[in-house]
Amino acid sequence: MADMHRHEIDEVTCREFVELVTDYWEGALPEDRMELVEEHLVMCDWCKTYLEQMEVTVEALPEAGEREPVPEETERVLLSAFRDWKARR
């Protein structure tokens, strides 16, 4: 829904929801963002499904057994990729 008028209205897009979903799920969003996220969820089935899938995943994690150790090189590459991704935004 991004377009020339988007910033005239304070709203959360699907892309922003994906970025905010963890904080939303943990109740860590400030009140105004929380409201915008919930307004978005009222009418966006895609994001509702995304949130439900995340909740199912989080609930299933304790049953997945012990975590496998991540090789140091893999961890380094992943962290680097995340840092680059954040920097490019």
Partner: protein, 196 residues
């Protein structure tokens, strides 16, 4: 209204079937034939109604549509934040029986029709986008009309209201958008025989 504090008031609350909170999943105690539902207290420390009990004023109904609509009594320091009210506690007084799947379908169609009007009035440079949105609204209103699922009907109403507001935004900017949201609120209050 932002941050306004009121002492005690009635408001509206949309819930999922069985009076379940759409975001918290909290099952709200429902009223009996003679008594209101039990008080629910919000808490920052619990998943139940994080940060307080939430509700809305009549003018913001179209933004929060789900399958059930209830009148709620809020108590304590009631604060208005954006399109929501927040209070330390609240209890359900009665269900708004006039809100139903057929009314949701009518509302979806009315909003889709409004979206078409906005698209027709849109400036040439955005008429294509506005027309596409109005067509999407018409499709969703048709889907809502055809369904027997109360969720699809309610969701269709919420989406068509959003589409109509966004089409109005493209056609005439913020002023037309706000006017469209006001029209939606008036439609709901009138058809549901509610006061603001």
């Amino acid at each position: 209204m932002e941050g306004a504090t009121l002492s005690e008031r009635l408001a509206y609350k949309f819930l999922r079937p069985g009076a379940v909170g759409p975001f918290s999943g909290h099952p709200w105690p429902v009223p009996s034939a003679t008594e209101p539902g039990e008080w629910v207290r919000g808490s920052l420390d619990e998943d139940v109604c994080r940060g307080g009990v939430h509700a809305c004023e009549g003018r913001f109904l179209a933004r929060w549509i789900w399958e059930e609509l209830w009148v709620i009594e809020l108590a304590g320091e009631v604060e208005a934040h954006g399109h929501k009210l927040r209070a330390p506690r609240g209890r359900l007084l009665r269900r708004v029986e006039t809100w139903s799947a057929p009314v949701a379908k009518d509302f979806a169609e009315a909003c889709a029709s409004r979206a078409s009007e906005h698209a027709a009035a849109a400036p040439a440079e955005v008429s294509g986008v506005a027309g596409g949105m109005a067509a999407d609204g018409a499709t969703r209103a048709e889907a809502a009309r055809a369904t027997s699922d109360p969720y699809v009907a309610a969701h269709g109403a919420a989406v068509c209201a959003y589409i109509s507001a966004m089409t109005a935004l493209r056609a005439g900017g913020r002023e037309r958008h706000d006017s469209e949201r006001e029209w939606q609120a008036e439609w709901l209050l009138r058809e549901l025989a509610l006061s603001d």
